[in-house]
């Protein structure tokens, strides 16, 4: 098809615009990468000398190592609990009508719009009123509340796409509800449940605002340790850690994209 000159200009303008926006998105990452290899403790562009010493400091700084393991503990517990609680509840609201159903759903979805500092402050005050220690269970509870809506949504979408005739077939052949659940329903839902779990885990590992309120010195997660570092020191250690973070995340997403199809998970594929 022949295009008019105006349409061609428009297409090129569009391309330039998209390239500029991509540059805006990429810029901070590139700048962080440059400064991570800067030898001097004071940031300067372009760096006069290069070194890897900030990477070694990032690995040897104990608060980061501890924060990483604390974060992993919280993330694994919180996203696994949220997966079980959230997908069971999604099953119930998808299949049944029961008392307080809409109210309960509304309450559990509300963390999507409640500011995280309100949740953090609430859990903190609740803990002090009930004399609960500021240990891991407290942090995990706050995280379960915050990631539950995401797990519920992905489980609900998978349930909508489930062919219920398969369950009916199993039932007509005499399978008990429990057997149908474990041999038909859960296996069919598995991809959706796993992507919900992964999404919840990533969100939980990175959650910062509410965690700052509910964690203590002993339970601080990696984002909290990083925040405390940036308030105390100005050297590029955090830039080095950020580079590791960006590389690992982009690698995980590239793998997820080629194995699972990120477009499908995020529901942005053209139909």
């Amino acid at each position: 098809m022949k295009r008019s000159p105006a349409a061609t200009t428009l297409r090129w303008l569009g391309r330039v615009l998209v390239a500029l926006i991509l540059l805006f998105v990429l810029l901070p990452g590139v700048v962080v990468a440059i400064s991570a290899f800067n030898d001097r403790a004071i940031l300067a562009f372009p760096p006069q000398a290069w070194s890897l010493r900030w990477f070694w400091r990032a690995f040897s700084y104990t608060d980061f190592g501890k924060g990483f393991w604390n974060g992993l503990t919280v993330t694994v517990w919180a996203s696994s609990i949220a997966l079980m609680v959230g997908s069971a509840f999604a099953y119930a609201i998808h299949r049944y009508k029961f008392a307080l159903r809409d109210l309960l759903e509304g309450i559990l979805l509300s963390p999507l719009i409640i500011p995280h500092y309100t949740i953090g402050l609430g859990v903190l005050i609740l803990a002090s009123q009930t004399n609960t220690a500021r240990g891991f269970p407290l942090v995990i509870f706050a995280h379960v509340v915050m990631v539950l809506p995401f797990v519920m949504r992905s489980a609900y979408i998978s349930l909508q796409n489930l062919d219920t005739r398969l369950e009916l077939a199993a039932s007509s052949l005499g399978a008990t509800p429990l057997r149908i659940l474990f041999t038909v329903t859960i296996p069919l839902l598995l991809p959706g449940l796993l992507s919900g779990w992964l999404f919840a885990a990533i969100l939980s590992f990175n959650e910062f605002t509410a965690t700052l309120f509910v964690s203590s010195q002993a339970t601080q997660t990696l984002p909290v340790a990083m925040y405390n570092y940036v308030r105390e020191f100005a050297d590029p250690t955090l830039a080095a850690l950020s580079v590791i973070y960006i590389v690992v995340t982009a690698a995980l997403l590239t793998i997820a994209n080629s194995v699972l199809g990120l477009g499908k998970i995020l529901n942005v594929d053209a139909h």
């Binding site: 998105v25 940031l43 950020s242 529901n267």
Partner: protein, 284 residues
Amino acid sequence: MNKRPFLGWFVSPAGLVAVGLIAALLAVFQYSVRAYVPGSLDVGDFTLQNFAAMLRPLYAFAFGNTVLLCFETAVFTLLLAYPLAYALVRTNSSALRSFILIVSVTPLFLGEVVRTYSWMIVLGNNGFLNTLLIKLGLLERPVQMMFTAGGVVAALVHVTMPIMVIMLAAALSHIDRNYEKAAESLGAGPVRIFFTITLPLSMPGIVAGFSTAFAWTFSAFATPQLIGGGRVSTVSTLIYQLGFSSFNFPFAASLSLIGLALSLAVIALLKKAASPLERMAGST
């Protein structure tokens, strides 16, 4: 046989979580109407003093400032995210699609602290932008970008971009292309097709993205705290200051309650303002 197998088993854990969440919110509410006892974590008697104190200029200003910041962020995010989402959905090259997807989605999984820190390096007085502009001869002295509202908005736009791109791309990908083809065959130009067909049909995504960006910005803490450096006060930075510097938890509780009410009100308002548009889009 039981018509609703597992009902109790499946609902009760969720019920427990909901009870915990409600208890936490009630705890905030209960603290917000108690007096502050200086030097103590215990609270005093019932009072409405905390809410009255919010009318003082400092706090009223922080509320106005936060709402303004959220609006600016949501508007700029929408303007930058739309072309990206459009290119993501409409490009014919699968390599370009993967590239745009990875680049625009990766920041979502980096967390607020990493992204805020990288903007500190970009915006600082000896940072990347100032050095670049001076080397290019466009500036003589560094321009103050850290600790300004503009710097906070730039970083917040970057923080909210991914979720906006995802929501817009989801809406754009569900548009039936035949409407556009029909308009084209009737002689409409690309600009006209975009403004009369594509844009109205993507309205649900715009509304969802805009309100999510608004809510996220309202809830953001690390960005205004670190890039604002105490000179850009928002509801979130005030709450943290009150809670952890002066241990005035009752006042922090009342602030976060008003913050919650305000963000709910704005989101409800956005939905209401958008519903005629959505109906329009739905009927085409």
